[in-house]
């Protein structure tokens, strides 16, 4: 008997913890379908899609989503391409000072981006490139590159060299080899880097908050903040619908690719 209680006590604790994690989120779901948008969890008296319709039909919100997508998608694509290029020589050649490059990449990875935002703003201000989606995206590319190169190199290290050698003999160049031989093999790794990077910038608040100021350029993160921070009378139901729509893409990406993602975590945890 004692053993049974002991065996199942962990199940119970796990389930309680899981419920505690779902609990705050549940409110967001309920409130988004409730016209009255209460602050507490309450099953709506009348389930309505009005909040969603309101949010989706507002052109400013649509613009914010589009901006988020443009920034995150172009950033993640650039990061993946640049990281594959950069990690190829780091993985394949024995170059002088290679470990120095690798460790400085790892070192940059550790710097809190928050701390450099003030000077970044100053540099951008001086160069007159504030309030530009392009420069904001390039900045996000730069800050995501160190860990992406690091991860990508680790994935590339696992590709056997013999695969490439066959391609060399057939007369393929380096770029062709990367595209036709290496890329298909490291595709899961590429996905990890892409999703990590995409969701990182999709959810990022501080960078666009500092670097972008026009209403038509801000992404959803900043737009939600303004929605909920600046106005006195907040329609919580609508804000909940907006938040949920904004969370959905990365939540789906994450859960669809959970298997890949745990690889990414194993890498950053240095357990190989």
């Amino acid at each position: 008997m004692k053993k049974i209680i002991k065996n199942y006590s962990q199940h119970v604790v796990l389930i309680i913890i899981a419920i505690m994690f779902i609990w705050p989120m549940l409110w967001l779901v309920f409130a988004s379908f409730d016209k009255t948008g209460p602050l507490t969890i309450k099953v709506p008296d009348q389930i309505t899609l009005d909040n969603y319709i309101e949010v989706v039909t507002n052109p400013m919100n649509f613009r914010a989503f589009l901006n988020s997508f443009i920034i995150s998608f172009s950033q993640a694509s650039m990061v993946v391409i640049l990281a594959i290029l950069a990690s190829y020589p780091l993985s394949r050649f024995s170059i002088k000072g290679k470990s120095k490059i690798l460790y400085s990449i790892l070192f940059l990875n550790g710097l809190p981006i928050t701390a450099i935002m003030v000077p970044v703003y100053m540099v951008f201000f001086r160069l007159k490139i504030t309030n530009s989606i392009i420069s904001t995206t390039l900045f996000l590319v730069a800050t995501a590159l160190p860990y992406s190169i690091w991860m990508m190199k680790n994935f590339m290290d696992d590709v056997p060299k013999t695969l490439e050698e066959a391609a060399w003999i057939d007369g393929a160049g380096i770029i062709q080899t990367i595209i036709h031989v290496i890329f298909p093999v490291i595709l899961p790794g590429v996905m990890v880097v892409f999703i990590f990077t995409f969701s990182g910038s999709w959810g990022n608040f501080f960078v666009p908050f500092i670097l972008l100021s026009s209403v038509e350029k801000i992404p959803a993160s900043v737009s939600i903040y303004q929605f909920f921070g600046a106005h006195g009378q907040v329609v919580y139901g609508q804000l909940a619908a907006f938040s949920l729509l904004y969370t959905m893409p990365i939540a789906i990406l994450y859960f669809l690719s959970q298997k890949f993602m745990s690889q990414g975590f194993a890498l950053s945890g240095a357990i190989k």
Partner: protein, 290 residues
């Protein structure tokens, strides 16, 4: 391949990345160090005609009571939300989820991951509602006849700690899951045969075996937490008063609301230095694992 071609390829392939990293990442760090010794402001005369003021900003910082409050808040926040909250809870979850059936693992794992996939600003909004006087937590406590508590005003630090635990636990959980997965069954089994009980196996065998991951995880969550801005800024704005003003919030306020860029960057330097220190430890733990 010929050596010359290798070098050419290396330079060509690394150049775009290094250039971007240099211009947008490394350069601002140097600029930070530089401006922290000036009295530059965002607007006004001192924006153009700034002077070198030596270590004035740093002196001022060490005399600034509010800076110390923000530093203390950062440390309290880091300790309770990340080092204790996320890490211990994350480990406990990973440990308990071992050898449970797939359905339970999936249910628990997915629930905890909800916080991790939710963008910062949305986390703030969720906790704004959850901890509101009319929010879900108070409604629940009301069942036990506990009067509504103004969490966001009377216990603001606790509020941001809760929010950060909710958001960040999944990260530690995933790191520890993969670490625990690598602890071989036979080691645990032989310890058990030698008469060790569950607790002894945990503390004497498992924890020492995954100490590398514990160190790495500690460093990574520290780095994530000291730089946290959006979550706190959107939830409490650093208030009430200075109750939840951490260093990034104070830095932001000084640089962009009070326009004291020089002073703001001096604070940024302290954050960067702290991050650098952690980065060095991070690299070391990698080197040891290699």
């Amino acid at each position: 391949m010929i050596e010359k071609r290798k070098i050419k390829t290396t330079i060509l392939f690394l150049l775009p990345s290094l250039l971007l990293i240099f211009v947008f990442f490394a350069l601002p760090v140097f600029v930070t160090i530089f401006y922290s010794f000036t009295n530059k402001t965002l607007v006004g005369v001192k924006a153009i005609n700034w002077d070198f003021v030596g270590i004035e900003n740093y002196k001022f910082m060490f005399a600034d009571k509010r800076f110390f409050i923000s530093l203390k808040n950062t440390i309290v926040f880091l300790f309770f939300s990340a080092l204790v909250g996320q890490q211990v809870l994350g480990f406990a979850l990973a440990y308990m989820m071992q050898k449970k059936n797939a359905l339970l693992r999936r249910f628990v794992g997915t629930s905890v991951l909800l916080g991790w996939v939710t963008p910062e600003v949305v986390v703030s909004f969720i906790f704004f509602a959850f901890l509101n006087t009319e929010g879900s937590l108070n409604s629940f406590l009301g069942v036990f006849n506990i009067k509504p508590i103004a969490w966001l005003f009377d216990h603001a630090m606790l509020a941001i700690i809760f929010a950060n635990i909710w958001r960040g636990t999944a990260f530690s959980m995933l790191i520890f899951q993969s670490a625990l997965g690598n602890v071989s069954e036979s080691v645990k089994e032989s310890a058990r045969i030698d008469g060790a009980n569950t607790r002894q196996v945990l503390f004497r065998i498992i924890i020492p075996l995954i100490s590398g991951s514990i160190v790495t995880n500690t460093i990574l969550i520290t780095l994530q937490t000291i730089g946290l801005f959006g979550l706190i800024y959107a939830l409490t704005g650093g208030g009430p008063g200075y109750d939840t003003t951490t260093v990034p919030i104070y830095m932001y306020n000084k640089a962009f609301s009070a326009y004291q860029l020089g002073y703001g960057t001096a604070m940024a330097i302290i954050l960067v230095l702290f991050g650098m220190l952690m980065s060095v430890f991070y690299m070391r733990s990698f080197k040891r694992n290699d």
